[in-house]
């Protein structure tokens, strides 16, 4: 692993995109930043602007309106960007998969690097997903 890649993995900045979510995954993501789980010890922090992001966290079912916005965000992000689909809705569509307004799970719209299933995934599961993401490649 090269020096540049090492620095990149030591400092992943997260940007959170919630689709038509029921808010459970959003709360579990915020749980990871609390003192109990503390992902900042891996150098991760939540940023407010997509221009600073290294990881795009997507949760919730993506409906037709969200699709355009998700594509916009993906194109606005500086490359390289990693995409993580969180929760059953993000990974497969979950119970909304056959809905009328559903526009496809995240990986049909943009390339996804890691999937974290669960409804909602526990913070431990999100941490395990992050570790897998760091060990990838």
């Amino acid at each position: 692993m090269g020096f540049k890649e090492y620095c990149f993995k030591k400092s992943l900045w997260l940007f959170h995109f919630g689709g038509a979510s029921c808010n459970n995954c959003d709360i579990e993501i915020l749980d990871c930043l609390t003192p109990r789980y503390d992902v900042e010890r891996f150098g991760m922090q939540l940023v407010g602007s997509i221009r600073h992001a290294d990881v795009l966290l997507v949760n919730g079912s993506i409906n037709r309106r969200d699709k355009a916005r998700l594509l916009d965000l993906y194109h606005q992000a500086p490359k390289p960007i990693l995409v993580v689909a969180i929760g059953a809705c993000g990974c497969t569509g979950g119970i909304f998969a056959e809905g009328d307004t559903f526009a496809g799970p995240v990986d049909k719209i943009i390339p996804v690097d890691a999937y974290i299933p669960g409804c909602p995934p526990k913070p431990e599961a999100i941490l395990a997903g992050i570790v897998k993401l760091l060990n990838k490649k």
Binding site: K4, G43, V47, G48
Partner: protein, 310 residues
Amino acid sequence: MIRNLLYYLIFPGFIFIGVIGGLLSGFDRKITAWLQFRKGPPLIQPFYDFIKLLLVKETILPAKGSIVTFLATPVFAITGAALSGIMILLPAFHYNSGFSGDIIVIFYMLTIPSISYILGALAAGNPLASVGASREMKLIMSYELTFLLVLAAIVMKAGMTIRISDIIQAQVTQGPFIGSVSGVLLFLVLIFCIQAKLGLVPFDMAEAEAEINHGAFIEYSGSAYAMIKLAKYMMMFVLPALACILLLGGMRVDGIHILWTVLKVLGVVLLITLIRNTNPRVRIDQAMRFFFIWMNLLVIIAFVLILFGL
């Protein structure tokens, strides 16, 4: 000639200020984590962030906006931070005695990073960046007068000299200025000015990340944002060093005095971090009122105390 270049580029210049500033920013993040009962990132986390932004990430240019200004202003910010740092540290470490009036030049140099952030934000062509720039502008207008008054009070206390090395010399002969009542008042005001200059809570409204998404820096990415981060790290060292020199009795780098110097700088940074972690963000009008009325009042009281020799 070579010697001067080494002073400016390596020690105590550009590279030294950048490295120490990065370590102090890591210290700041570590203390923040401990205050929230977290483990926190490693101490060298700012270097990982900087190298990632500089070497790995793509730099996106604004489609509607002035690209030259957008890219030049981070460089101006670094230049201002580094030059003011060198002018502060050269007399502080006794490499040379500076020149008469260097405290005024330092005052102007310390404003350059904030002005560059405003110009860069306005060149980005983003509405949220404009909001951030306008807030930063109002913040500059509120704290600069107070900062200038503090410097004037210190000049008066040191016996009407506008040379940094003479101010340090005055403190060597009559003890650090913070040992007097007026010194304590000036230190309090200077800490709040530093807080506003660094853009930390409670005066981070220009960068309010939950409200206007990093405000002035919203459009910066990749190496341009790395430059802005570097300027911020440098200011994290330069401003506490200025506080040490003006009020805490200077910084010496010989023998056991290195320990006291390190402790002084760490103490000032710790104080800034504690203020930052125990306060909410204030509105811009509250910040202006805070500086215009209360902080200026404290400095004027300090002036009167200095006249009476306290």
